[in-house]
């Protein structure tokens, strides 16, 4: 806060105009300050009571938190350097994180294990506003891929520290976590296994298929249409459709069951995710190879490269950024889709989502949904950085 105040005095100049995105941030933050900050429920399934910010925290902390958030919203409107905006956004989010943890502790009666305190509309609006400020600042900084990865690491590290400190221990989602710590990590591993396993398999199958499509025009139309068709099947339907044939294979083919193939469980989930992943991988491989300049191709042949040398030394490196973009789509898509795998016994964070829906316990749904969204978000940032690193001469 001290930092925010000095920044303001240093930067204030009479001619400074207002920042438009900052105005939006401030309006959303203002709405957040005026709407309920937290929700309190006597137990995990009854409807909750909305609690305003000034009622959710001890008096002095309300004043302090309110002052920082109002100050940060005001600073967002002023035109500051991107680095200063980054610090303001980060500081506001940190204060918000501390406030919601303290609110949960303040609102929960001592020794009460049944009641639940969860973030309210106001908290989410404030979080949205300052996340917007933060991501806008990162974009304006124009960081190198490694710089963006460091910011991601800093955010992940901060969240991990907060979780480790027990600051959020009284929040409803973490209460659900405390009851299920073992299965949380087991399902998390299953989720990552499904998403990364299907990605690896789809890459191993899809990239060679893309190369064949690039070189044989007849295969291209047929295969891409087929994969397009698969993409249009709703995910739940595809998961369901695979149960019967896989159960049949498990029953008929000797040794298949021993390999883990069965009608329900990981096998159909994995297969469905691979099928969904193939279109982006194959289509982007084809697009990447087609994007290699004709003069470059001709030069490679004219220099005396064999077909394989041309593929490995020229076409593939030049197509790599586009292929990686396809892999990025697949990874983000499969981290989300893997949630549905829980329906057919494939495990993953979807287990909590569907249990939560079944018990009308929103906190349990969030326990499954939040890590899924966070993983997808982080995967997108990491893969974007890789795409940029693979592009010759930096940004293409």
């Amino acid at each position: 806060m001290a930092l925010a105040a000095t920044t303001l005095t240093e930067r204030r100049a009479p001619h400074q105009a207002l920042d438009r995105l900052g105005l939006l941030v401030a309006l959303v933050a203002l709405a957040g300050l005026l709407t309920p900050f937290a929700a309190f429920r006597a137990n995990r399934i009854v409807p909750g009571t909305a609690i305003a910010l000034w009622a959710a925290l001890p008096g002095w902390e309300t004043v302090l938190t309110g002052a920082v958030l109002v100050g940060a919203a005001a600073l967002a409107v002023v035109r500051l350097s991107p680095a200063a905006r980054l610090l303001v956004g980060f500081a506001a989010l940190l204060v918000l994180a501390i406030a919601i943890g303290d609110a949960a502790r303040f609102l929960t009666p001592a020794g009460d294990h049944l009641s639940r305190t969860s973030p309210g509309t106001g908290f989410w609006l404030l979080a949205l506003a300052f996340s917007l400020l933060l991501s806008d600042a990162v974009a304006r900084l124009g960081l190198t891929p490694l710089g963006r990865l460091s910011i991601l690491a800093a955010v992940v590290g901060t969240v991990a520290l907060i979780l480790e400190s027990g600051l959020w221990g009284d929040l409803s989602v973490l209460r659900e976590y405390a009851n299920r710590a073992d299965s949380f990590w087991r399902e998390g591993a299953a989720h990552v296994g499904l998403a990364l396993g299907s990605l690896a398999a789809a890459t191993l199958i899809g990239v060679p298929l893309g190369i064949v499509c690039h070189r044989v025009a007849a295969v291209r139309a047929t295969l891409l249409n087929l994969l397009n068709g698969i993409q249009t099947i709703p995910s739940i339907a595809l998961f369901g459709l695979l149960i019967a044939p896989l159960a049949w294979i498990a029953a008929v083919v000797p040794g298949a069951a021993a390999l883990g193939i069965s009608g329900i469980g990981t096998a159909p989930a994995m297969l469905a995710l691979i099928l969904y992943a193939l279109l982006p991988v194959v289509a982007n491989t084809v697009a990447g190879l087609a994007g290699v300049p004709e003069a470059t191709e001709e030069a490679a042949r004219g220099m005396g490269m064999t077909d394989m040398q041309r593929l490995l030394q020229v076409e593939f490196p030049l197509a790599l950024p586009v292929i990686l973009t396809g892999i990025r789509i697949v990874l983000v898509q499969n981290i989300g889709l893997a949630t549905v795998a829980a329906l057919i016994g494939g495990g993953g964070f979807g287990v909590f989502v569907f249990q939560g829906v079944g018990q009308t316990a929103m906190d349990l749904v969030l326990l499954g949904a939040i890590p899924t969204v966070a993983m997808a978000f982080a995967a997108a940032i990491v893969l974007d950085a890789l795409v940029e690193l693979a592009t010759p001469g930096g940004r293409a």
Binding site: E298, A300, R301, M303, L318
Partner: protein, 312 residues
């Protein structure tokens, strides 16, 4: 020596190259000229088998090019295309070392060759070796493209509109440089162009093609004086005929003994240069000096004008 014997190639019903035969001597520059669709590029690409002929054959130093795998043949023939075709993900040094790397040269030898070529093409190795092609100007990219084609010291260099993407001033410089480098390396060059001026400037001999057929294959002065068909005449244009003719005549062949005043011109120049100098300075004759600056004679306006007339 390259011997092209009865080469033909059709694409569908279109006869792109129709029974063309040519002999290209060692160390010569041959320019293949024609409009687009004349089959000139197809003919060039059949020499390094980027296109396989339907019939006929190509011999290089007496050996049929089909006796070995195409990729191995191409490593011994330099190839330069319009728009250079540099590999955008590789540095200038790596681009130039493409063929040496394919041939399995060791690192030290490749590095030395890259530096040697960069220096030959007027690019400082320390500055340019590690740059990506996108960080070069158009003219520099073109030079790197030629350097890459020459990296493994091929005896034959094929060039397809190599200067097509350059602006006129840089193009003129690139053409002069190519001529100088060719004189030094004695590489046999087959160059495809649609520009008759470029063909006349660079070619020891010119092959004019139209609709897949070879219309005329002759020295530039002969093409200017005696175009084989009206089409060849059209390609030349009639505007500069006398001046073109003079530009094939070195002054040292037309010296006489008389006196002439004023600045001398060098004996390496042509009658065209002498005529221009005489007209511009208002003199009837200009003295000619050799490389040491010694006056060896003069060229008169009358001689130049007489030589500009169409030969009988």
């Amino acid at each position: 020596m390259i011997e092209i014997e009865h080469l033909s190639k059709s694409f569908g019903n279109d006869r792109a190259v129709d029974d063309v035969s040519l002999r290209i001597g060692e160390g010569e520059i041959v320019a293949i000229v024609g409009t687009s669709g004349s089959g000139k590029t197809t003919l060039l690409r059949m020499i390094n088998r980027l296109i396989e002929p339907d019939s006929g054959r190509v011999l290089i130093d007496g050996q049929d090019t089909r006796q070995r795998p195409a990729y191995s043949l191409r490593r011994e023939i330099g190839y330069v295309i319009q728009g250079h075709g540099l590999f955008p993900h590789r540095t200038v040094g790596q681009n130039i070392a493409t063929v040496p790397a394919l041939l399995g040269w060791n690192k030290a030898k490749m590095g030395a060759r890259v530096d040697e070529l960069l220096t030959l093409f007027g690019l400082d190795p320390a500055t340019y070796r590690e740059r990506l092609p996108s960080a070069l100007s158009g003219g520099q990219q073109q030079r790197v493209g030629v350097a890459r084609a020459l990296a493994a010291s091929p005896k034959v260099l094929l060039m397809d509109e190599p200067f097509g993407a350059l602006d006129p001033i840089i193009r003129a410089k690139a053409q002069t440089d190519l001529r100088a480098i060719q004189r030094r390396l004695k590489t046999t060059i087959v160059l495809v162009t649609h520009d008759m001026n470029e063909a006349i400037l660079l070619g020891d001999r010119i092959a004019v093609m139209d609709q897949g057929r070879l219309l005329q294959y002759a020295r530039p002065d002969e093409i200017v004086v005696r175009p084989a068909t009206p089409f060849v005449g059209e390609l030349l244009g009639s505007g500069e005929r006398p001046f073109r003719l003079l530009s094939f005549r070195p002054v040292r062949d037309f010296l006489d003994e008389g006196e002439a005043a004023g600045e001398p011109i060098a004996d390496t120049m042509t009658l065209r240069d002498a005529l221009e100098e005489a007209l511009w300075s208002g003199r009837d004759a200009v003295p000619v000096a050799d490389a040491d600056g010694r006056i060896i004679g003069r060229v008169t306006l009358r001689t130049a004008i007489a030589q500009a007339a169409r030969p009988k």
